[in-house]
Amino acid sequence: MTGEGDVLLRLDHVRKYFPVKGGALMQREKSHVHAVDDVSLQVRRGETLGLVGESGCGKSTLAACVVRLFELSGGSITFDGRDISRLSRRALRPVRRELQMVFQDPFASLNPRKRVGRIIGDPLRIHRLASEKQIDAQVRELLSRVGLSPEHMHRYPYEFSGGQRQRIGVARALALRPKLIVADEPVSALDVSIQAQIVNLLAELQQELALTYLFIAHDLGVVRHVSDRIAVMYLGKIVELSPAEDFYAQPIHPYSEALLSAVPIPDPDRSERRQQIVLEGDVPSPITPPSGCRFHPRCRYATDICARQEPPLVDYANGHLAACHHPLNLDRRSPVDATAPLRSPMDRPAAALIPTNEEGPNEQ
């Protein structure tokens, strides 16, 4: 299947725990927030991997780990064939050039006291990549590339709307000609018509500059529009990882099913006809995550095993992975599955599903 050569970013068993301090006097570390807990995934060159999940699932922490804004608690990150998870700040510098980030809040992520030309040009100055004259020319080119006027370089961020500021943020990320852009909720603070402009811009830039995106968002519609593959996180874990269309057509994990069913459909008749799954309760605390499958207290398919045993992430053919004891939509899946008569997905012994090769599940 996938050769190592086309993988740009690889996460292996990445963990990020934050200590929770307590005690009136001693401030000892009492426990940990398991923000990211054993995440492994790969982002291939030129693709967009969409990372979705609800607030608190760890997706932004994971993004910050990828660009090394946080030190990892465990695991490793390989970027362009090189382990960057233990590099010193200095050794990290040249890597950062190829690994840029676009942030969620276009109001907080631009320095209000600097002119736009300075904001976009500074990465080039910091990395000493060009003379002032060249920087000036490059800033102008970057501004027009993201759909702004070169004259805007003399203005301050407050003179721009949210959408325009996000364009400035994109231009800054592009200045160093990165290979990978980590975009953390890049459109969620914008109005819909402006969201569409930024989404289209990111797609154009990807084509022109052969960029790879790790695109983090909670809006499943936007994610579907931009992504080649989708990863779903729940309480610090990847619960499903799949080619995009396959995921939207036939989600395997019950959490994915519920997430998709909660997205409002802008069509009154279809909206009325569909059966919505309304999940009860909230996401549990990541300090003391539930035993076994972390989703089991809210899952409508949960049985005894779910509370006892953590389901492994299993490949169900064509790179569609999920971590669930009661996987959904398997009977409609591959020809292999169609010929093997299923009692029902619920009766299926989960242990039999762990594949021994990459062909797909269970041919025992």
């Binding site: 325009q164 819909v192 969201q195 569409a196 289209n200 909660a262 009154p268 909230d282």
Partner: protein, 340 residues
Amino acid sequence: MSEPLLEVTDLRVSFRTEEGLAPAVDGVSFTLDRGEVLGIVGESGSGKSVTMLSVMRLIVDPNAVFGGKILFKGRNLLEMSRGQIQRIRGAKIAMIFQDPMTSLNPVYRVGWQITEQIQAHAELTKRQARERALELLAGVGIPNPRARIDDYPHQFSGGMRQRVMVAMALSCSPELLIADEPTTALDVTIQAQILKLIKELRSESGSSVVLITHDMGVVADIADRVVVMYAGRIVEQGDKRDLFYDPQHPYTWGLLGSIARLDRPKGERLASIPGMPPSLINRPPGCHFQPRCVHRVERCSVEDPALTDKLGNGHVDACHLDASVKRRDRVLGSAPTGSS
């Protein structure tokens, strides 16, 4: 016909600024019947929140200038004294705000805040008010309310805080509930819970609801009728199905087209609206949407289009183009052509 619960006529709200008068709401008229759910959609700055904050009389800016009428059960809210409005606000008209993180007071216990609200409008003892608060918390799905009622807001998640806000809004069984982007700050699964609550409120107590949102999906789910606002004005208004299946204003087409939808095959590009909304102080001449409109004709920049019912079914729009031209020219990718 009985009189509508709420009747807004030619509402104008302007703010005096250093650069001049900014008309945030510019001649907005609509009615709301009992038991009806009205969705108001538009982008930031379209005037949707200012309109409904005016209904609550919550705009206290000394530089605000009001005009027009807001009749609630026949009485003009804009002319009421502060005492009169306080008897209505919270009791007959309640509001839920967008941000559940800031709309509860962080230094008071949740239960205290609810009972204060109840006792402000009803003759109940402390004990009775507390019992009522427990009922309300249970009603909005707070697990184990007896244990949680004395928690502080920070001990609640965002979704739970918004449920507390709903509980407070419902505490006096209001006839009108105004929800200003009630789910925008929440995750989709929590959004589904809150919308379900609002639907139950309507079906159980027959309350009317005005839901302000930018999300056409939420409107399709919950509204009976829809108002689309742009730059302080209503540009289109009609029954939900008319508006979704036969949208008349090019701005509405743009709104529908900008959504990355799950119920359609994935397209190449999203049909975004070029440009951005105008500044309220220097609004373009003629139709305010005209500089961003790909369908504009010469007349659009000269003459301001009036809100008219061209189809004869109460579905009004403010656009110079003929309905037949619009049905021909609107991009099908952005406007649903009917149910499948």
